[in-house]
Assembly symmetry: C2
Homo-oligomer: 234 residues x 2
DNA sequence: GATCACACTTTTGTCGACAAAAAAAATACA
DNA sequence: TGTATTTTTTTTGTCGACAAAAGTGTGATC
């Protein structure tokens, strides 16, 4: 496939992680469609590696839930489970809250600097009307807040949820409008201020509202979309 | 090593999962000491499998954080990080709360039956003064509650945290006394009742108190222990 | 006696091959 | 024509081998 991938992986031990990261990105960016089959042989050719390191990368992805591997049968990219979306939203909202709250409690000056620069990147993406950029810089912004909170369990789960969110948003990003992202920039600013002030309650409240905002936005995209497909199926 | 392990894994595809589950248990039960090195060759002999399936099992364990694999160097059983214990307690407490709360909201009659039977198993372990049994049945009890809550993200994180807790408790289980386990039985009963009544606030409050109870118990064991080793280092 | 360089051993990451299992294709039969 | 059965092809799980790193031991040098 992509010739750039080849020959980049010829230092021992870098093979698996390169394959892992490449595939991970492609799954999150929907370059690999949910439900589509993954061919080990094909990947083996593409990365110029034998099937052994490819398989180890796939095992890692499976452990993260990004792919599903049916024993002795094909392995496929995980589907986005619209029936269980409320579980996702519930966990996402909770993680927004606890990470922002903890960031208010535990941040250092370095953390603030990093958060600020990522917020700036988000703002620039909004100015450019670069929807894909908005999605990924928004994710980075919140991961940085989580890291400032200093709880690896939350960071890990939140990262997973945000990346799953990226997949969902990519499905609907065409319908992004201009008003909401502007509003998010403001909400982010307020959150940063609450974190700096070490105001846990305010940080929690803002994160909660921010999460609700995003959740209802995604919900509206989905229901609008299912109305369309509902029409088609009549 | 253990001859029972051999030849049990001779159906295609069962190799990795058998190795994975066996090692996972041994790590959690501290049969494999934290920090000790893992020898692929040795495991290969023990399970009568080649190194390839062994490695895939190790990759899975690494993804779960139970082992650490340093590239081109040895892989070791993860250490228990006493410096970051507060992160662990914080996440554990939060998961106790949200899973119990969700169980109150979403449980079915089948869930209650399962939770009840596991609570009975816990009670019996307490009656037998079987500390190891108490640790594992307590874990199963709370996992069942989490499953009744129907949020796979919480179930996964909570399971991981409870199993990490099993490791820590095993370090100190000699100092278990009789009073607290009795108290836990009562607290469990109250939690079941709150869940049945679909009283979310009560479920949350009980879970919160229960978590605090357990956390402070573990904390007291650890500080008692570090006082001892503090004496030794003088 | 301690430090360094070099040979040697062990361990890890990767490879190509092969057999079991599933999927697909071909055939037989109603 | 449609279904059941056999054969062929593809794919997956496992194996033994080998080369690159890292670890270990030995001797030389100061």
């Amino acid at each position: 496939m992509d010739e750039r991938d080849k020959q980049l992986t010829h230092k021992r031990g870098f093979g698996v992680s390169t394959v892992y990261e490449t595939l991970r990105n492609e799954i999150i960016e929907l370059k690999l469609a949910p439900g589509s089959a993954i061919d080990e042989q094909q990947l083996s050719d593409r990365f110029a590696l034998s099937r052994t390191p490819i398989r180890e990368a796939l095992v890692r992805l499976a452990a993260e839930g990004l792919i599903m591997t049916l024993t002795n049968r094909a392995t496929i990219v995980s589907n986005i489970d619209f029936l269980r979306l409320s579980e996702f939203f519930d966990a996402l909202t909770l993680m927004y809250r606890v990470t922002t709250r903890l960031a208010a409690a535990n941040h250092t000056p370095d953390d603030i600097e990093k958060i600020r620069s990522l917020q700036k990147a988000f703002e620039e993406a909004v100015d450019r009307r670069d929807v894909l950029g908005m999605i990924s810089t928004n994710r980075d912004f919140h991961v940085a807040i989580a890291q400032a909170g200093r709880n690896r369990y939350y960071v890990e789960l939140f990262t997973r949820l945000l990346d799953e969110g990226r997949r969902i948003l990519r499905l609907y990003y065409s319908s992004f409008n201009d008003v909401l992202p502007r509003q998010y920039v403001g909400e982010h600013e307020d959150m940063i201020q609450a974190i700096i002030n070490r105001d846990l309650l305010q940080a929690d409240a803002l994160a909660s509202a921010h999460a609700d905002q995003i959740v209802s936005q995604i919900r509206s995209y989905i229901s609008a979309d299912s109305r369309q497909s509902g029409d088609l199926s009549l």
